[in-house]
Symmetry: C3
């Protein structure tokens, strides 16, 4: 199979979405000039070009695309060619209303925006296959082509009638019989027993609470239907160009796709990343997504979209202060990216995203944005030979699973204050602040490479996953579990005792009497720290090696944290500093050390291959002590003992 | 007619909803063992069993129900048998979409939750009658049966087409002619005159404000349609078992049912009660609902559902601290309950309520919850012989009427900060804190038993009700009215002068110039206290015996409180302590004294029959001085002078 | 053409909406007595009378209207006769569902409220024309008639199918060809190219962001469709009574109508005005609307609706404190009104507005409201001979344009904290506090009368408007522009550089690098003041005469305010006092002085004709120094040197 390396060929890809059809062709040579000046070596074409390519059903207009692909080829800029299927032309919804999705309240999603296609519509899929076939046939052999990009940010749902029919098919595949479905969904509750497959529908707007197992399966179904849309197009382009890698771009921590499953179907894993420049934890958000994407890619990955300046979809959209675009781009490279790309090359003058920045902003060539983009292009070219294709290694794994998220973050649970991504962020933040680089892993993955495994929260654990955790500890690994872990089996059935018995035994818990969720902003005192969000009324079985008790209140004296050998259970969410200290201590016990010792708080340090990346997230310069002499690839300078990083500055150091 | 006594037969019923169909039959004997160990003597079966009993239209599967009813009978545990009509099986909505309700925006309420039935659907009613008929025929004579439970928490609305037809029928019955309807609804306003009955529809989503009289009639219609559903099933089971009492469970202070009217159609009045364990006024909320239910029952009543631990439908669901379940259960008994039951016996492992606690929680027999349930079962058995069937008497009545609530709490009124239940709670809280036990009454009820009658707010008063209030005062009773009382007649027509002229005369008010609602959090100074929510620009007619003026602001010097003989008018909502003191003083003047004098704030005292219940709502022990020697039925100890109650402790004292 | 003067004939019109059909005819003579006592000389009849006039399709019942019009005529009270087309009778929606609007999510707006008509429905328009024709034919010659009032507060939208067809017609008229539409809407973005007119629909609920140019055109279309409804009825009544002026009442600063365009089609410009009596800036809100309406009318205008006391549609509806009704009414006269009218004469007892005050409140003749109304009637009669028909002159113009508002206040823009009316209010407030009287003007209007022109924000500027601004400055005028001005052209296409190049040149801006919107509540330091809401990363071109820099932060040292000759650019929203001081200083430089110097803050001073109005918005008396001797028309007193105004007092002074 081809991979990202076939597109990078020793370079870091640098560029972005390019929508030449929005501009008069006279602009194109100017674009080429500016691209070359900025070091752009890749553009993504065609993402939303369906109406241009197929202005009427069955018609084709490839002329303009021929011209721009040729132009890119002549300029030595590689082309990632997208299938345009994320936004069907208006004629499709008009002629085929069956292609439009319905939301859970029965409302149609109309054309006039984007992504108004039903993943279950046979009509849509037929048209999508046809345009993909013709695109692939025409461009598969073009020398400028380096990669295929399928659709864009798959993210739709459909509760309509054709989706209902496909849902029934999917359920038949999963459960086999209606009896099995009734069992898995617990339909004895509230008189929901199905006597005929035809009665089964998506979880549409009910009078009162939905069946959570039905909702869980509907989310699984949705991810799978979208994946079918993806693989159908992928298989077409692969047939025409088996030498070219294929990707589709994820939205980070997006609830709608099981990205572990999807990543297996991609040659290149790519992601879109838009931390808020004003978010004091924006850099950590970036690190989390980068670690997650690298883990899904099991190696170098592609930053498909980021913003050179502000986005347009927040309430208040802040631009990137001077230096931040470069800093966050280098962070992505540090954490495994071999491609740094933007939405989009040239900021649109019209349409819903005309206030979303581009590499060339409204201010044009003279604008600060383009100036900084040009500087970054040179930086990336400089470090690329030492970076491209190299791997980073982490010795901590954080477990994450979409199915657990889908099952856990529903209505009618102990606390709506607790959410799966929030738990991931809190635990990852503790590691990030401790300068401990982490991978993410699926709970059924092989964990043998990781001395330390963390489970911020996995409400749902399959039996296989439970076995995997036990095996990890029994094999000498350290495990730290947060609360609400192992509560449900794979059908969202609460396990006897409210938590898997083998896990209780692992931690030394006899009885889980009650969950005591905390109100927003409330804290609970524990010996040595305060907890947030949650607490638990646990009865230990006396086998734990150590416990940290709750202090005062209803839980006074009961265990807040249990340690039994290398297995730890943390029944609250310690405040950030406490969690950082706890995990640092446990990591040290497991032989896992920070990237560097004594780092200032505002500096992030990451190793990739034999390189050390230092990133100053602060606005003030800072000095960092180095273990021995290094060569800074960015400046070309040799540094010994100490390196100084300016505001938002970075160093890429070779020992 | 049979009553609750026919089911209790000298006991306090103790148990809860039991859903054996959710569990393998092997679990059933274990359930019996645990029930007996806990003192359970009643279970409610079949509440959501329709799909099990009628898996396909017209089919019947009673086998499993036969077995469990027999098993209960053998164990000496009485069965409350429910009709399963609150949740039709999926086949019904699938085959008969006309059974599904529509909301006011036209959206369908789908199956997949519960209560997805239209109260107006002839098809639904036909199926409901048929299954009820067959259930009644089969089990009416079963010796284990003690009571019938119809449906569950009736609470649905329907704005659809069949409901529209039924609404027109109902309106024809109420108003007779279209002219009368036009008059009652004031359709001369905004060109809403109806020329044909076919034009009349439920108050569906409009461009701008709805007609309030139409909304009022729609709420009346809704309550009546649900009541028709109830009585239809009740009449069927009564025909088969005239010896068994019939109930349906209310939700407390639920807007959708006129519970005064409904209670007349029940043999046993039952209610579901779920105060938030974290609510500092949770105990008072319980007392209010218990007082209301006792008043509707005119004697002992049934606590059909409460939670042994946390519920699942709040944002954050707190468990019950140690002792609270027992305390609140004894409070219900103190305030008239002869049955203390739970939703549900065994916590579900699947479905939308798997995080709602049960008497047997996920932690099982060893869990704190079950241990406390067992202790309470013994307590109840101990006190039952002295309690069951006895009455409590109150000398204060608080007036409440659903029609007034429906008319008053609409859009486009002086202040959305004011709501009917909030006013009830505020006034009842003042009594509760003053240790004054209150009944609730309908404004047209005979009030002669009550020296003191309170009207927190009755925006709508019928002429009969006004006469009733006047007669009460003229007959020597004391009356205290809160603001916005007597504003509208029974068609929600504002009475001339903005308040009924006879009431104005009763209080000594010449002119009500303006209502001055207060902003959220705003207060208004009055002589001696501060008011909240509301104030009024009143002109007295000089006949009042005493007035308390507003101080400062626009209303400076105008009367805030008027007293004319035994009639009081309070034109603001005094802050809690001020309202407590005011009502205590007025009560004393009317010869109404607290249950005990000198009680600590955290202790609630209630008399039932010749027993005195003392309840410590605090977490710290407290001592209570007693008037003479008593025998504590819970401990078996004789106490003289003073009794000490532990954390959440209680005493049930016989003089 | 007839005008307001034909109705006033030297008087100030005083009265309001009168709905006699809501009352028994016995009440009518009592109404006449109270009207005459209060000085009422005009009533508006028939606004919501359609169902009374046409109880069944095609029937007519004019008898009651004949009687009340005659009665008014006999009493010497003029009649403004309304077409009843704002609220079709129930039979219309029932027989013709095509007359009901659909919202953007497809939900029907049902009868039972008001304004449930589709502006695009041919059926509705046919019925509306017919009833208008018959009304006009019958009453055109009635001597009591003084004016026609068409419909009421036009304010509806429709996303349904007939509206879609009309939208296509409208777009064909505007754009000519589909190619032109595709260009104007920028449909190359997100694959929205239209291949057939039939594919074009209103901007219905999409999956993700709508096309902003489509939304802009839909708002233009909506305003134009409503205007067609208006002119169709206007033309009918004009044909029957060419001597009578015609109006329709605006809602102030209502987004749905381009009131500049509408005002051209009216003989009398009228408006409904409801500031919150609790709003500390209520008086300024009134002044703004009055200035706007006067500017649309280009002379005297009609206050069609205000409230004598509270309204009913806020969360908390505060009454008007003693004196406020009179004060705010005199303010309207001061700012150009020749008619002071209310919704409504007599407060309704039924219907959705029964808690909206009337001139005769629920308290009736004795109520404070009516007493104050009577006093005001006498005041207006006293000053009318000196006021009616006179003009006020302002030397400052504030530019405002609905199209800019429609384009600017959409989703997906730099900041949702910024809104067009908010910017208007902030800048107008600064003028109001500086006692500078302002007109409003459209950006393409002749501005030569104004030494000073302010642009709080005009995101969209046509080329003609840009030329107009440049000509203003080149012709010697002073111009002050707020941020986000001149960003887009008339199709909402961002101009190259993010701001029109000619404007940048005008202010001395070379490059607009980035917009830096501020978070809610955030401020930015500038030299001498703080800014709010917004800041900008600007690079000056060195031609400005003066700049005020940002201090600290990312923009440290960059220009916040630029002045180049008489052109000023303000790239943030200065805090209120700073903006007031800045504009006062610039005004002084442009030779524009306050109405009076040294006025206390709570006093508003306005000149109309040769009269000076002084208005005390405070609750405490206040003394004002006068330039020379005056005669107070309200008291009849001569005042010299200084006049004292009581609580909410006013003086109308002739030199």
């Amino acid at each position: 199979m081809p991979g990202l390396g076939d597109a990078t060929r020793g370079r870091i890809l640098y560029g972005g979405d390019y929508n030449p059809e929005q501009w008069p062709e006279e602009t194109w040579p100017e674009d080429v000039r500016l691209m070359r000046q900025a070091g752009v070596n890749t553009v993504t074409l065609g993402v939303f070009s369906w109406a241009k390519l197929e202005p009427r059903p069955g018609e084709r207009d490839f002329g303009w695309l021929d011209r721009i692909v040729d132009l890119m080829g002549e300029a030595g800029i590689g082309v990632v060619l997208a299938t345009p299927t994320a936004s069907p032309p208006p004629w499709m919804g008009h002629l085929h209303p069956d292609t439009l999705p319905r939301d859970e309240e029965g409302r149609t999603e109309w054309w006039g925006g984007r992504q108004h296609f039903s993943h279950s519509s046979a009509t849509y899929r037929r048209y999508a296959a046809a345009i993909t076939e013709d695109l692939a046939a025409r461009y598969a052999g073009h020398p400028a082509l380096t990669m295929w990009h399928i659709n864009n940010e798959y993210c739709t749902y459909d509760w309509g009638d054709e989706a209902a029919a496909r849902f029934r098919d999917w359920l038949r595949d999963r459960h086999g019989t209606l009896d099995a479905l009734n069992t898995a969904w617990g339909t004895a509750f509230w008189s929901q027993g199905y006597g005929d497959w035809a009665e089964v529908v998506p979880p549409r707007h009910p009078h009162y609470l939905k069946n959570p197992a039905q909702v869980l399966d509907f989310k699984r179904f949705t991810s799978d239907m979208l994946l079918e849309c993806y693989t159908a197009e992928r298989d077409i382009v692969r047939r025409h160009s088996p030498h070219l890698p294929v990707t589709t771009n994820f939205m980070p921590l997006w609830a709608g796709q099981d990205a572990w499953r999807w990543a297996e179907e991609e040659d290149v894993v790519s992601v879109d990343l838009y931390p808020d420049p004003r978010d004091p934890f924006g850099a950590q958000e970036g690190a989390l997504v980068q670690d997650m994407t690298r883990s899904q890619a099991r190696g170098p990955w592609m930053l498909m979209e980021q913003a050179a300046g502000p986005v347009n979809w927040r309430g208040v959209n802040h631009p990137k202060p001077r230096g931040l675009n470069r800093l966050w781009s280098l962070q992505a490279v540090a954490r495994g990216a071999d491609a740094v790309c933007y939405f989009q090359w040239r900021q649109s003058r019209q349409g819903a995203e005309k206030f979303h920045s581009g590499m060339v902003s409204h201010a044009g060539e003279r604008g600060r944005t383009y100036q900084e983009v040009t500087r970054l292009g040179a930086d990336l070219a400089r470090i690329a030979p030492h970076v491209a294709g190299t791997h980073s290694t982490a010795r901590v794994a954080v477990l994450h699973d979409w199915h657990s998220w889908w099952a856990g973050d529903q209505d009618a649970r102990p606390s709506r204050e607790v959410d799966h991504p929030g738990m991931l962020r809190a635990w990852h933040r503790a590691l990030w602040q401790a300068h401990l680089t982490a991978d993410f892993a699926h709970p059924e993955h092989d964990l043998s490479a990781y001395p330390l495994v963390l489970v911020p929260q996995l409400y749902l654990l399959t039996d296989t996953a439970v076995d995997n955790l036990l095996a990890h500890v029994h094999g000498g690994g350290t495990l730290v579990c947060g609360f609400l872990t192992g509560v449900a089996d794979e059908d969202d059935r609460v396990r006897p005792g409210g938590m898997d018995a083998r896990l209780r035994d692992l931690f030394g818990i006899r009885t889980l009497h009650e969950w005591w969720p905390l109100d927003a902003g409330e804290t609970v005192a524990c010996e040595g720290f305060h907890g947030t969000l949650w607490s638990e009324e646990l009865e230990a079985d006396g086998t734990a090696d150590a416990t940290t008790p709750y202090k005062g209140g209803e839980l006074d004296g009961l265990p807040a944290v249990l340690r039994k050998g290398r297995a730890w259970y943390v029944s609250t969410l310690p405040e950030p500093e406490a969690l950082r200290d706890l995990l640092t201590r446990i990591a040290a016990g497991a032989g896992v050390r920070p990237v560097l010792d004594g780092l200032p708080a505002q500096v992030e340090a990451v190793r990739r291959g034999d390189l050390l990346f230092l990133l100053n997230h602060g606005r003030e310069p800072v000095a960092v002590d180095l273990p021995g002499p290094h060569h800074d690839l960015l400046t070309g300078a040799d540094v010994t003992g100490r390196v100084t990083l300016g505001r938002h500055g970075a160093a890429v150091l070779r020992p």
